[in-house]
């Protein structure tokens, strides 16, 4: 594994180091809970130990006796906050289950009381001393539990528009020369970002400041204002850095308005840092899924029929579904396709986005089935993808704006030395280890959303960019700074970037891998405005050609030969002509095809995402090919992954260094979703058993040896001004299938249920 930054290839920016690297590695970066408050009170949550039933009452005697306790808030005395509507239903929340409103308990770990004290220690001690008496009912935990209900996703939630379908699947499958039918299963998972779910609320008069790690400061600001019944302009959300999120901090959780309301009632700042275990139930998670796949193919490998039916678990009140069939039915050429997604309701907290929400579980099913088909055909799995590669998605024939899937396969296969794979399962060994090679396709929709930005250029060439994006570890500061530096032709060291503050111009949620595309496209546009203003000041006495205006730098030599006949823009003179020392522009950008109300929605903290399979006349995805070497110990059945290779094409790469980090983390996460990560349910109680980082397994350094990321050059002029496809959620798609495909190759055993644990191997 190389540790130097990758060299940029065609259509790639410079691999500059992270803007926030020094602050982070020296501990100077201030996360929400690090922000010092004046005279704060500390809150601790008490959460329910039952999943279904009622609270009969509380015994607070011991808790109240703890020295320093200020207040104990329960449904009996809490302020009645306004309803929180789901983000998918015109609201901001990830769940409509609102704690502290009634005695009802809807899921395990629901907030039932908040203890507030002078110190964190006192609050925690009193929280432990709280006795809650329940009347518990028998909960329905998951699939197959008594009392669950199942219904088609279509019609239940706006995001799930259709069950994609084309041709006559039944007939084609019936007639197919080669058939594969198999069922797959993925477990519940929790994001477990390092940074816990923290919230500090500070009131100054009727204005509220919230320090909270959020992937969407505008959404949170508006959502909390709505729940508190105050003007959104009175609420400010600040988080300069988010210590990981992976979707869990994308939508509003009930805790924020509760803490804000308690802070208002006490007339002093209140700070909450929920525990690791509470994070499993006070926010969202990736729900378990089931899949049935049927594929019919000709002997030459061409798909003739594909059916993908899935089931996902959600909570009782909220119809959440990721619905990945919109991707899996469009990935390969196939004339006859059918699909269906159903939601199964159980007594659980409402699930939500988790890194590549649809693709991780759904592509596991499809890419495992493709491998099974390759085996049935006796065909190389890479060749099977080649045979079925397509420039148009098969459901409605829309063209992919660009698609470099096979280039990824070819470059990845070369780096991995795929040709050394002997096709027979169990045919490669070394000492006590069975060796297997596997591969799978990775893909993720390219998405964009409206945003606004403010850019200020000073006479000394210094630039300030303001946009309420979020730094969740994605490198937002860095690429936004690069976008401005490139457009204005100033060195990147002269650019300061301000994000993570809802008082800045709005940007969309840092989710759906839209951030770089949306924020950079917007910043580019506003930088154009700045340049335009300067040029206009000079045009009276300057004779720059239009072409030169498009390429010339500020105080720098023109960058292209066509512009070299023109002189560089003289900043001093432009500012002299304007008679000012600062030019500042505010601008808005929205992607092509964005709905009419996009900008209004943007200011209200609601995202109108455009892209993926949901555009009118085209479809946009980033692609990748992943290769995995697995080793299975003959005796102990331990499974290890010594090598991961991923080749990815995602349009313009702003920064090969940060891009590689994202994709590398993705590959590791993908391996983890095959071998490590799973939230274990105690079905009797519908409770999460391993709700801590010792028992919820994620890979440690020793599990990760060689990870190779190949950035495949690609240019796409049909997506957005930045030419950027999202990569944040690309790397961890398909890896789980590639691992299982490699395990099959190593052992001859097909594993269709994740996670793979050593006891599932019967070799």
């Amino acid at each position: 594994m190389s540790i130097t930054a990758p060299e940029p290839k065609a259509n790639m920016g410079q691999p500059i180091p992270r803007y926030d690297a020094a602050a982070k590695v020296t501990g100077k970066a201030q996360y929400a809970a690090d922000v010092p408050l004046v005279n704060p009170a500390y809150a601790c949550l008490v959460t329910s130990s039952i999943a279904k039933g009622r609270i009969d009452g509380f015994d607070m005697t011991a808790a109240k006796q703890v020295r320093g306790v200020i207040d104990i808030v329960t449904h009996e005395n809490a302020e009645q906050l306004k309803e929180a509507k789901l983000f998918s239903n015109g609201g901001y929340a990830g769940t409509t289950i609102q704690p502290l409103k009634s005695a009802d308990v809807a899921h395990t770990g629901q907030i039932v009381a908040v203890v507030v004290a002078e110190t964190f220690e006192a609050a925690q001690q009193a929280a432990y001393a709280m006795k809650v008496n329940y009347t518990a009912a028998m909960p329905s935990a998951t699939f197959d539990s008594a009392g669950t209900t199942s219904a088609p996703a279509k019609g239940q939630l706006a995001q799930f528009k259709e069950d994609p379908k084309v041709g006559d699947f039944a007939k084609a499958f019936n007639d197919a020369e080669i058939k594969v039918s198999a069922a797959y299963e993925t477990p519940p998972q929790h994001h477990n970002p390092m940074e816990l779910f923290a919230t500090s609320c500070v009131w100054l008069g009727d204005s509220l400041t919230i320090y909270e790690p959020s992937q969407y400061v505008y959404g949170l600001k508006n959502g909390v204002a709505e729940q508190l019944g105050i003007d959104a302009d009175k609420v400010r959300v600040i988080n300069a850095y988010v210590g990981g999120a992976f979707g869990s901090k994308g939508s509003m959780t009930p805790r924020t308005a509760i803490i804000a309301s308690i802070a208002r009632r006490l007339g002093r700042p209140v700070k909450l840092v929920a525990t690791r275990a509470q994070g499993f139930t006070i926010a969202t998670f990736r729900a378990e899924t089931r899949h049935e796949i049927q594929i019919g193919a000709r002997r030459d490998g061409h798909l003739t029929a594909l059916r993908h039916e899935s089931w996902e678990v959600s909570s009782r009140p909220d119809p959440y579904a990721v619905g990945g069939t919109k991707t899996t039915t469009r990935l390969y050429a196939c004339p006859n396709i059918e699909s269906r997604v159903s939601i199964v309701r159980a007594d659980r907290n409402t699930p939500g986005f988790m890194r590549s929400p649809p693709e991780v579980p759904y592509m596991f099913a499809l890419e495992s089935a493709m491998d099974e088909l390759a085996v049935a055909l006796n065909m190389d799995p890479v060749e099977l993808r080649r045979v079925n590669d397509t420039a148009k998605e098969p459901i409605s024939g829309k063209p992919y704006t660009s698609r470099s899937l096979m280039a990824c396969y070819d470059q990845g296969a070369r780096a991995f030395e795929w040709e050394k794979r002997s096709p027979q399962p169990k045919s490669m060994t070394e000492g006590d280890w069975l060796i297997g090679y596997g591969c799978a396709t990775s893909c993720y929709p390219t998405q964009m959303a409206p945003a606004a930005a403010r850019v200020r250029l000073q006479r000394d060439g210094r630039v300030r960019v303001e946009i309420a994006g979020q730094e969740i570890g994605n490198g937002a500061y860095t690429v936004i700074g690069q976008a401005a530096a490139e457009k204005l032709g100033v060195p990147v060291e002269k650019v300061s970037v301000f994000i993570g503050d809802s008082d800045l111009p709005p940007a969309p949620v840092a989710g759906g891998s839209n951030s770089t595309a949306s924020t950079c496209s917007t910043v580019i546009k506003v930088c154009e405005q700045v340049r335009q203003k300067l040029f206009e000041a000079l045009t009276s006495n300057e004779s720059l050609t239009n072409e030169a205006k498009g390429t010339v730098g500020m105080g720098q030599t023109p960058s292209t030969p066509s512009a070299s006949n023109d002189r560089p823009l003289d900043l001093e003179r432009a500012f002299d002509a304007l008679g000012v020392s600062v030019v500042e522009e505010y601008g808005e950008w929205k992607p092509e095809g964005a709905p009419m109300d996009s900008f209004q929605a943007m200011y209200k903290g609601q995202v109108r995402m455009v892209g993926g399979s949901e555009m009118k006349d085209k479809i946009a995805y980033a692609f990748g090919a992943e290769f995995v070497e697995v080793r299975v110990n003959k005796w102990t059945h331990e499974i290890r992954v010594p090598r991961l290779v991923g080749a990815f094409a995602a349009g313009h790469i702003m920064n090969p260094r940060t891009a590689r980090s994202q994709l590398m983390g993705g590959l590791i996460w993908g391996m983890s979703s095959a071998l490590h990560e799973a939230t274990e349910l105690d079905e009797r109680y519908a409770r999460y058993v391993n709700d801590n980082l010792a028992d919820y397994l994620v890979p440690v350094n020793a599990d990760v040896s060689d990870v190779d990321v190949i950035l495949v050059a690609e240019q796409d002029d049909h997506i957005n001004p930045a030419g950027v496809k999202g990569i944040g959620e690309l790397g961890n798609v398909g890896t789980n299938a590639a691992v299982c495909n490699a395990i099959f190759h190593a052992t001859g055993q097909r594993l269709r249920k994740l996670p793979v644990r050593l006891e599932k191997l019967e070799i």
Binding site: T636, H637, V700, L758
Partner: protein, 338 residues
């Protein structure tokens, strides 16, 4: 965490005095109202989770000057109870003459934890049973005697198959203890009436009817050292787990062989991850002792080790895995270069 009094011991008698007087009325050591603090990686962890609620914590680290020595005389190893896991694991003499000890320490926890944790605290670490560690479950006989056992019918993948009872199926999670078991270590205990020595195999109690009583130590008694006869250059520790580091064993075996001309003059096997207490597989040893090293024999020995296994819903695999681990560990020991 609940408030507690922090006392810093100045010497062994004062530590013992503080521990004994505070807790005279209480017999179950783990519930004693004063607890010694060594590295704190078990104790503080469980206090934060509200599982352990001592009123006083007696910091015994000032005793390190006399209690952290490691010495090897006449082939007998003495390990002070306050020696740090990382120091002992890195000791070249131990690596050479007692590799199984170095391995059990090196393969445990993480570097940060090993730097903090002491050997005495290590053998007294408590089970990782999730229902035990989460006080919102009422039904845990170890925490609330007589309340039932949530793990019996719950998620019990990590639980034990040997030495359990109907009251508790929790696994003893430690690694180092398996080396001590295999090598017939002695524990030196310092108490009010001086020093006593017991076999290490007599330190831990099986859960039986009272899983809350985990050891034969009394309040006010401290482990001061471990004495290990040897050397055992042909010894290994094999630990199998879901990830490659920083995890407790699903199944493990500490094995020591005295092998001469392919004959096992002595064979020692202790098992981790599968039993309620540090576990010596004596039936298996009996089959091997005095015999030539042979695959069929080893399979028989492994079968014997698990003859009494009582698996539950999610840990059935531990029986087959445990046997394979014994077999692999024996092979590794037999073939190691010494």
């Amino acid at each position: 965490m609940r408030p507690f009094v922090y006392q810093r011991a100045s010497d062994a008698p004062s530590a013992i005095q503080n521990l004994a007087t505070a807790t005279a009325a209480n017999n179950v050591l783990t519930e004693a109202s004063a607890q010694p603090l060594a590295g704190g990686t078990t104790l503080i962890d469980l206090m934060k989770l509200d599982v352990m609620r001592p009123k006083a914590v007696v910091d015994i680290n000032p005793l390190a000057a006399s209690w952290s020595n490691v010495s090897l005389d006449d082939d007998n190893l003495r390990l002070g109870a306050l020696a740090r896991m990382s120091d002992v694991a890195a000791n070249p003499e131990i690596q050479q003459h007692y590799p199984v000890i170095a391995d059990t320490l090196k393969l445990a926890a993480s570097p940060q934890l090993r730097n903090m944790a002491s050997l005495g605290g290590n053998v007294l670490q408590r089970t990782r049973c999730s229902y035990f560690r989460d006080v919102s479950y009422h039904n845990c006989n170890k925490r609330n005697p007589g309340s039932g056992c949530a793990a019996l019918e719950g998620f019990n993948r990590s639980h034990a198959v040997l030495g359990t009872s109907e009251q508790c199926i929790a696994t003893y999670p430690g690694d180092f203890a398996q080396a001590l078991m295999a090598l017939d270590a002695t524990v030196e205990i310092t108490g009010r009436s001086g020093v006593r020595k017991i076999r290490f195999s007599d330190l831990h109690k099986r859960p039986g009817e009272s899983p809350q009583a985990e050891t034969t130590l009394s309040p006010g008694e401290l482990i001061s050292a471990f004495l290990i006869p040897g050397p055992w250059p042909r010894s290994v520790y094999l630990k199998v787990r879901d990830r490659q580091s920083y995890e407790f064993a699903l199944a493990s075996a500490a094995v020591a062989l005295d092998l001469q001309d392919e004959v096992m003059r002595d064979a020692r096997i202790a098992l981790g991850g599968v039993a309620a207490v540090p576990w010596r597989a004596r039936e298996a040893e009996a089959i091997l002792k005095g015999q030539k090293f042979d695959d069929a024999l080893i399979d028989r020995a492994a079968d014997a080790a698990f003859a009494d296994a009582r698996p539950h819903r999610h840990n059935v695999f531990k029986v087959a895995l445990g046997k394979r681990v014994i077999s692999r560990a024996l092979h590794q020991a037999a073939t190691m270069e010494i």
